[in-house]
């Protein structure tokens, strides 16, 4: 892909966007009077704003490019992440869990765990989340900076620092409210920026019917596009359920229906949408209980329709790649100019009489697999009529038999966007990155300030302690020095300071990951270990009053260890033992890495659940029913919704959303 140069209209649009989002930060700065205002918005935001921010915070650059990448590799089955995973989880959060998050007046999800159990469980969740959210921000920044370099030729550091500075300025001025408001703006930018690209792509392919027909051909011979070495039934890319029900060997994801529904649909999705403070924080900022409960439901409506914006581009890219007249391929991995130059030399010096050696030399020079037929054609053609280096390089670009699926979105933007629309589509990419980064930073600064820093001060540094008072008459008296919290202004400035510190740490992570790709993969693996069991802890905490603090703490640790051991004893087909798993011993080979992830989640959740229940039964409760009121389902008065309009009651709206989700699953059966 040749870098695109922007026109004055593009720069105008980008600049106007920066002015508007900084303006929002400035307009809100005067309302930031306390740490509560800055870190939690003091529960003041209307439902439609928190609802759209809920979805925008999740829609970071990784999600956007990642979903298109999955759409290309796995087809419409990628929509299971939304229609089987996200929507039911969001409805469950709204109807059953928000009353405890919001009603308990906890300032964060880990703080709920502290109120329900004790500090140990809170610290495990808060520490893991803090590290994860910063590192995820760094990973996202790294991906975006690389994509902008690919698309526009911008220097990596420029993209990283300029985007980060803009985000940190508006968060510093306006706190969580600023992040939430700009996320709503960014939501509209993502939809309105990418929709025309998707529309043009679908038109170019010939419409939905033509798209399905092209993908049917791909499914029967995906190796032609280096998608898979296997062959599948014709509907493997366009049917969400039939290939899944047929078994792991019949769908590109390589999973069975149980792993999909229970692993992804329940454990991973509920674990993310119901407990991840990045999204829950937006609902907790709502102005009242009804608004908080409706936030995930409002978010679920666009979420259900998002496959059209984020997954469909992946399908379109695959279909376009089958049409020679479109001059499009799924972008290959980034290969340096030096490597291309060596490969060009290899083509020019290759002898058609020793074709295999020539092809191997080209592949070695590029450092990638190649389509043998394309390279042999190139070598033969060049031997008869020598071509220019530039022509050979262009042909080699099309001969690389590996795909960089993350580059699909930028490649479609480059293919379909003239100046003007180009800036809008770029803004959609920027917006997705900024909303994700702002979400991560605001979640981090709240978790740090309240769950780690303030909690550490209260329980360790400044905890109440025994002391001896020496009276003026010389006598002594044993007293207890009580804990005296620091002023709220101190915590406000701690929140602001850690906003900058957190951003700098994220930037550091991005630089580190740009050099050590394996570190990025390793970190994401660690997060998978930690995230998998967490829903069991929250679920048992909210719905079983007998769960004890010791049970929850040891159950959570046990769940994490279950993830680690599962990974160490299993491997996906085709992988080698190491970072991919099986490093103790390979007890089970699973059909794919996706299947390995889903089954790991199932085992981790089950391990955490069983251990928590067993240890809770073996340990004494430390909190009375009265102390648990408002924190556990059976001890909390049910919220009465009967005074509200029927269709605005969370349970009713939730049911309607589930039915809509089922209808979508049937349409794409």
């Amino acid at each position: 892909m040749q870098p695109i140069h922007l026109a004055w209209v593009d720069y105008s649009i980008l600049l106007a966007y920066v002015v508007f989002i900084l303006g929002i930060g400035w307009a809100l700065a005067r309302y930031m009077k306390s740490s509560g205002d800055f870190l939690t918005s003091s529960r003041s935001i209307p439902t439609w704003v928190t609802g759209l921010a809920f979805i925008a915070a999740n829609l970071g650059a990784l999600e956007l490019v990642g979903m298109a990448a999955c759409g290309a590799q796995y087809g419409i089955a990628t929509a299971h992440f939304y229609w089987v995973g996200a929507i039911p989880a969001m409805v469950f959060l709204a109807v059953f869990m928000m009353p405890f998050y919001y009603g308990s007046k906890a300032r964060s999800a880990p703080e709920y765990l502290k109120m329900r159990f004790d500090e140990r469980v809170r610290w495990v969740n808060a520490f893991a989340f803090a590290v994860m959210t910063l590192a995820t921000s760094g990973i996202s920044m790294n991906v975006l900076a690389i994509l902008l370099h690919l698309l526009l030729g911008w220097k990596y550091s420029w993209s990283l620092w300029i985007c980060s500075v803009v985000v940190v300025v508006y968060i510093f001025k306006g706190g969580l409210t600023s992040a939430i408001y700009t996320e709503v703006l960014q939501f509209f930018l993502i939809v309105l920026g990418f929709a025309p690209v998707v529309w043009l792509g679908l038109q170019d392919v010939g419409g939905w019917g033509a798209l399905k027909s092209r993908l049917a051909g791909v499914a029967q011979h995906p190796a032609a596009l280096a998608l898979s070495e296997k062959t599948f039934r014709p509907d493997a890319w366009t049917s969400a359920w039939k290939p899944l029900l047929a078994g792991p060997a019949h769908n590109p994801m390589g999973v069975d229906v149980f792993a999909m529904v229970f692993g992804l649909g329940f454990v991973l999705s509920f674990g993310y949408w119901c407990t991840n403070y990045l999204v829950v924080q937006r609902a907790m900022a709502a102005k009242n209980m009804t608004a908080a409960r409706n936030t995930p439901l409002v978010a679920a409506i666009p979420k259900m329709l998002f496959p059209a914006i984020v997954i469909l581009p992946g399908l379109i890219a695959v279909a376009l790649a089958t049409l020679p007249s479109k001059d499009y391929r799924i972008p290959p991995p980034i290969i340096s100019d030096a490597s291309y130059a060596k490969a060009v030399d290899a083509v020019q010096s290759a002898n058609p009489a020793h074709m295999d050696a020539g092809i191997q030399a080209v592949s070695d020079a590029l450092g990638a697999k190649v389509y043998q037929d394309k390279v042999s054609t190139l070598i033969s053609a060049n031997a008869q009529h020598p071509e220019t280096k530039e022509q050979i390089k262009t042909a080699l670009y099309g001969s690389v038999a590996e795909n960089d699926y993350d580059a699909i979105i930028p490649s479609l933007v480059a293919k379909f966007c003239p100046h003007g629309l180009l800036a809008l589509a770029l803004l959609a990419l920027f917006a997705s990155f900024m909303s994700g980064m702002a979400g991560n930073i605001t979640a981090f600064n709240t978790i740090w300030t309240y769950d780690l820093y303030q909690s550490f001060r209260r329980n360790v540094l400044d905890r109440p302690r025994a002391a001896t008072l020496i009276r003026p008459d010389g006598g002594t008296e044993d007293i207890t020095v009580a804990y005296k919290d620091l002023s709220d202004t101190h915590y406000l400035w701690m929140g602001k300071g850690v906003t900058i510190a957190g951003t700098l740490l994220s930037i550091g992570c991005a630089y580190y990951f740009s050099h050590y790709n394996n570190a990025m993969n390793a970190l994401q693996l660690v997060f998978a270990f930690v995230n998998a069991p967490i829903f069991a802890t929250y679920f048992l905490g909210m719905f079983w009053k007998r769960t004890t603090g010791t049970g929850a703490f040891l159950g959570l640790i046990g769940g994490i260890l279950t993830s680690v051991f599962f990974h160490a004893l299993t491997l996906a087909q085709g992988d080698l033992p190491g970072i991919k798993g099986g490093y103790i011993h390979v007890v089970k080979v699973l059909p794919s890495e996706m299947a390995q992830n889903f089954w790991m989640a199932i085992f981790a959740f089950t391990g955490c659940f069983i251990l928590t229940v067993a240890i809770s039964l073996a340990t004494a409760r430390t909190k009375t029913d009265e102390e648990l009121k408002g924190l556990v389902y059976s001890l909390t008065p049910k919220i009465k919704d009967h005074e509200k309009h029927f269709f605005l009651r969370p349970a009713v709206l939730g049911t309607i959303l589930i039915i809509a989700c089922v209808i979508l699953n049937i349409i794409f059966w």
């Binding site: 209209v9 106007a16 929002i24 809100l28 309302y31 409210t177 025309p196 170019d204 003007g420 809008l424």
Partner: protein
């Protein structure tokens, strides 16, 4: 918190829409529209953004009338 978000959203998209329409009109015969399958996508999508922006502003104005700022 005092700021009706429909104002900045409406203003921004009205600005983008107007800018794309003007640019689209000025570049109507440009070969760059071969990228967008021969359609002047700036004119078309600029119109969509303008309508969206104006609707947002309309909503914000109605909101101001219902809840005027304190004197």
């Amino acid at each position: 918190m005092g700021l009706d978000l429909r104002w900045p959203i409406g203003l921004m998209f009205t600005f983008f829409g107007a800018l794309l329409i003007i640019y689209g009109a000025a570049t109507n015969s440009s070969p760059m529209y071969e990228l967008s399958l021969g359609k002047n996508i700036n004119l078309i999508w600029g119109g969509v953004l303008l309508v969206f922006g104006v609707l947002m502003l309309f909503g914000a104005m109605r909101g101001s009338k219902k809840h005027p700022p304190p004197a």
